[in-house]
């Protein structure tokens, strides 16, 4: 019983972190129509920034094996804040370069930038220890309860972040600012004829979504306690989040959260079932069934229900 409960808690933590990413993608794709295929890049920047802001610089013999550009040993919240800011700065730089591109080109450019970020993290050992990555990242409020119950504390922390981000975004999309974003998505020329600075609004949207992705990356880093560049490959870092948002409902934050929980349940529970039921000799290959599931799901949604399970609300204004 306790085992199942523990499994559910760790499931809920990851699903909630993914829900944060799905809502961030919703800012880009759902509200503004920006095709961001580089989520993994902002994810990685957030995770690494927070990891390095909160870790101690390695000393003694450890320094021979673990290389880091800096380590400030600051509290958890400073790390999260820094992660958001760093991802936001990167987003502004990327946006200045690429936001004038048309939709499809933007997708490929962001995919390329995310892959380049991962290559830099993988190859530049001095920066963040190369392919081995960083381990032993500090966990907030550790020691408050016995270690066996620590995940409950972390779940509460993640849910608080999720709630704050959800209500802030709901507020934002109902504001005049949010309505401009939706107008840009529907018809850029009309929005610009109304005197809106399209580029500036897109840049703000890209930065806002990236800040949230950075925060999500920080939450992931401190939950898993270890990060390597391999985590930020396109499937795990980008396309699983696209599947979540498009399944749940593009343009709807509730849909984003719902999609995150459904897809993560499919992903993590299929591992569980595979380990239980698939014969021993086939177990190294069986986890790739998840690729097929995610792939078919994404293609199937696009063919059958491009709007997702809960579509966008048509009116967001109260009057």
């Amino acid at each position: 019983m306790a085992g199942i409960l523990n499994f559910l808690v760790s499931f809920a933590i990851m699903a909630a972190i993914y829900a944060i990413f799905a809502m961030a993608l919703n800012v880009h794709w759902g509200y503004t129509g920006l095709l961001n295929f580089g989520i993994a890049g902002f994810f990685a920047v957030g995770a690494y920034t927070s990891a390095m802001f909160t870790s101690k610089m390695p000393t003694g013999t450890l320094a021979k094996y673990v290389k880091m550009a800096f380590g400030f040993d600051l509290p958890f919240l400073c790390g999260v804040l820094a992660a958001g800011i760093a991802a936001g700065i990167i987003a502004v730089l990327i946006g200045l370069l690429t936001l004038r591109l048309s939709e499809g080109y933007l997708a490929i450019a962001t995919l390329g930038i995310a892959e380049s970020i991962r290559l830099v993290l993988n190859n530049e050992h001095w920066l963040a220890n190369g392919p081995q990555g960083l381990i032993g990242l500090p966990k907030p409020l550790y020691g408050l309860v016995p270690p066996a119950y620590y995940n409950y504390i972390y779940l509460i922390i993640v849910v608080i972040f999720l709630a704050i981000i959800y209500f802030a975004l709901e507020r934002g999309i109902r504001s005049p600012w949010g309505r401009v974003l939706r107008a840009i998505r529907e018809d850029e020329v009309m929005a610009s004829a109304d005197g809106k600075n399209i580029f500036l609004f897109k840049l703000q949207s890209l930065a806002l979504g990236a800040v949230i992705m950075g925060i999500g990356g920080a939450l992931y880093a401190h939950y898993s306690g270890a990060i390597q560049p391999a985590v930020f490959e396109p499937l795990f870092g980008t396309f699983i989040i696209w599947t979540m948002l498009t399944l749940g409902g593009t343009g709807n934050n509730k849909g984003a959260i719902l999609g995150a929980f459904i897809v993560w349940a499919l992903w993590s529970w299929s591992t569980f079932l595979i380990l239980k039921f698939v014969p021993q000799g086939f177990q190294t290959r069986a986890p790739f069934i998840r690729y097929v599931i995610i792939g078919f799901l994404l293609a199937g949604i696009m063919v059958k229900r491009p709007k997702g399970l809960i579509g966008e609300e048509r009116t967001v204004s109260r009057f």
Partner: protein, 302 residues
Amino acid sequence: MIELIIYGIILGSIIALGSIGLTLIWGITELFNCAHGDQITVGAYSALIFIALFTRLGIMQEPIGPFSFGWGILIAFIPAILVSMGLAILIDQLVYRPIRQARGHFITAFIASIGVAWALRGLIYIIWGADFHFYTTGLRPMIFLPMGIKFRTDEIFIVVVAWIAVAAVYIFMSKAKMGKALRALADNPGLARISGINTERMLVWAWGIAGLLIAVAGVLYGIETQLRPEMGWIFLLPLFAAVILGGKGSITGALAGGLVLGIAQQVSTAWLLPSYKPAVAFLIMILVLIFRPKGIFGTRQV
């Protein structure tokens, strides 16, 4: 440096061949097919089935002439091409056709193609596992030229086959009646339809041709390196760059773009770690997108 340029031409020829199928589909259907790379992987692996069969039977193993491979590989091209063409047409009918008929946005099909890519890669992992595979395990003969330049004899074969395929597609698209119909479809689908062109049937042909090119590119890529499930996905990124460099739907553009990227990637290894090669391709692509969004090599449509 001359050596790096020669390696660049070899790599560039394979990139060019891979990117022509991509640019054809992009020009004709407006779809930027993210599953293209994984379809290349499928092409390479389906040749492997037959090569493994020949090995089991112990026939057609003797290397031909100076090459490392026997007749088995050349014969395996045919079933690989058939599998790849069938797969391309099947995917179009099952996934992209319903989206077309629902008048979906081109981005809907774009995202769906990512799903197709993951599904194909998952199937390859399940069937063949994550290990590397090779077409031949024998020696790989080299050619030595003056000034310390050396390359494998197989690479001559790769470059020649790639260029023949590129030339054949180019002649087909500019001279054959079907090629002209496909170009008409790319230019103006509505006008093509009222001129009596059966657009759905033309699209079946377009995907068939793309499937053929994909299989040839996959097998050549398999001869040049080794087979692994991620090979096509990693290869996709330079293909995108070459296609964007060449301009939408342009065969000669894709050829030139492929060569530029191949040479740039190989020459960059003189200063950068080889693992940065994909990043070099992207940097070039982003610069082109910013300064010459229509591609640098003309904007002539297919």
